[in-house]
Amino acid sequence: MKLKVLIAALGVSMMFSNGPASAEGELNLFNWGNYTNPELIEKFEKETGIKVTVTGYDDNDSALAKIKAGGHGFDMVVPSSNYVPIWIEEGLLLEARPDQMPNFENLEDQWKDVDWDPGRHYTVPWQWGSVGVMVDTAVYDGDINTSSIIFDPPEELVGKINVAPEMGDVIGTALRYVGSEPCTSDKEALKKVRDLLLEAKPKWLSMEYGVIEKIAAGDMAASLYWNGAAFRARLQNPDIHYGYPREGYSLWMDSVGILADAKNVEEAKTFLNFIMEPENAALISAFARYANGVKGSAEFMPEDMATATEVIIPEEFKASGHFVPPCSPDVQAIYTAIWTELQK
């Protein structure tokens, strides 16, 4: 994770080393790596004169740990839906009341009031998507709408499978595969999952982030990963397709919030309002290729987004996708134990 942060920081600092001279303020955005459209930042800087610095992270927990440690200097962060309640509960987010901002009306109705942020007092949607499987169909052309691709892989894919090292997503998907629910405290199910994962692991190649370019280049042939990344991989290599596991798959929404100890609160609020503008939300999606949750943004997006099955969930798979709640600390401890055993 440090690695991506470094690369992102390097890239961003190079990108903006000759940024706008007439900066009126600044804003430090702490977001997932390879997730922020430079054009969006450019547009924001041009319109507001606020200079933005973007730093990347790889997973929810490292972001949480870094912010909790303090002294970070960031103003905004983009946790996933199942982490937002933790951020709020820990007092790390500012109650910025985006629901009272002028552009709030632009949100699609289903995102205006959500379980993880009732009434949207803290966060604004960044993008949302699913955890599914991406497969190089040149290597395997069978049914890809199943998580058995990962947990009980067909012969062709053995030794060529990557699994995103995002603990919650992996164990959550495995729990659904054995017929249970993410964050369950049912020890029997968790035990089944442990055995399932330990048995599947020898058939995997790696547990990596940064999959888009690697699967497109043929370093791996399948991965448990996120839909937008699958779309980006398909744009590089038309053989890469995305499957929605019918055993059940997780949905998530990354949401932007302002940190409680942000130094540039006004600038951050301007940014929140800015990204709820359809044209700007479209820029977010145009880069990372996930849906954004803002009404009317589709018409500003690249044409290929409108038909992409990675973004528009096909009707038949809609019912098997569910959002994930935050896991309790006890369950998290079991997750970690399974995870350590898996990576030993």
């Binding site: 440090k2 933790i86 820990e90 790696s206 600390p329 134990a337």
Partner: protein, 319 residues
Amino acid sequence: MGEAQTKAPGTGTGSQVQASAERARKARVRAHWLLNTPALIILLCAASGPLFVVIIYSFLTPGDYGGIEWAFSLDGWFSVFMQRDIFEGTLSVADAHMSILWRSVRLSLLTTLTAFVLGFPTAYFIATRPRETRNVWLFLITIPFWVNLLIRTFAIMELIRNKGVINTILMSTGIIEQPIQMLFTDFAIMVGMTYVYLPLMVLPIYASMEKFDFRLVEAGYDLYATRMKVLRRIILPLAKPGIVAGSILVFIPSLGAYVTPRILGGGKNMMLGNLIALQFGQGRNWPLGSALALTLLAMVMVALLIYVRGVAKQDSGRH
């Protein structure tokens, strides 16, 4: 020191001279400490301070969402070595940690060995060049240090990936039909670490060989020693301090390596550095992470102690 100078020489009695000498000595000691203060402050704040924090954290309770609770607990240390089965509740040796530890030690040893096998002839080669050209060769050894570690690691990835340089060449020449899986294996980690730490092996060996009197080698041949014998009985013993120093310099950073295993290893099998990072991230167990970090530190110190003792023995042996 100024005090001592105000006293005119030869005017005092013996005891006065003694007293002033005493004063001068004290002043010197004071000045000595004063001049050392910046270094001491840096040592205390920058080296011991953080270490102290790590030690304290290792004895606390993990917070629910990362961080720590200020309550004493030995669980962090306990779970470095022992684990309670999540489902049966039985206690056993923490075999996940042990196998990660073993993998780290094994890969670090292999890296050290490979670096030695490659580094020793290199150092010998440089040391036997004419004096004027040696610096050029040394310069070539240090050039990779100018490039960022990340970039060098990614460059290796480019070489060994499935559609990378090596596989492409092998496949286009018809030697293999399917690409060889090199990326994301222990082999990749080892190649990466060997490449990155090789100069740390070459330089100390070179330093010990540079002072080497090559007439000894000639003398060996004159006495009908075979090439192997010259190498074993003359060159290796004399280069030993350099070899030991080089091995330590390669072994220690390999043991705690994070970036190389992360990029080239595929993240499927952790090394110690990654295990520690896990505790501060998704594992949300800072005390365990601290205890693991201290365990690593202790291991490094043991390795160093063995080295220091070995050197001391060698020194006393020479007298």
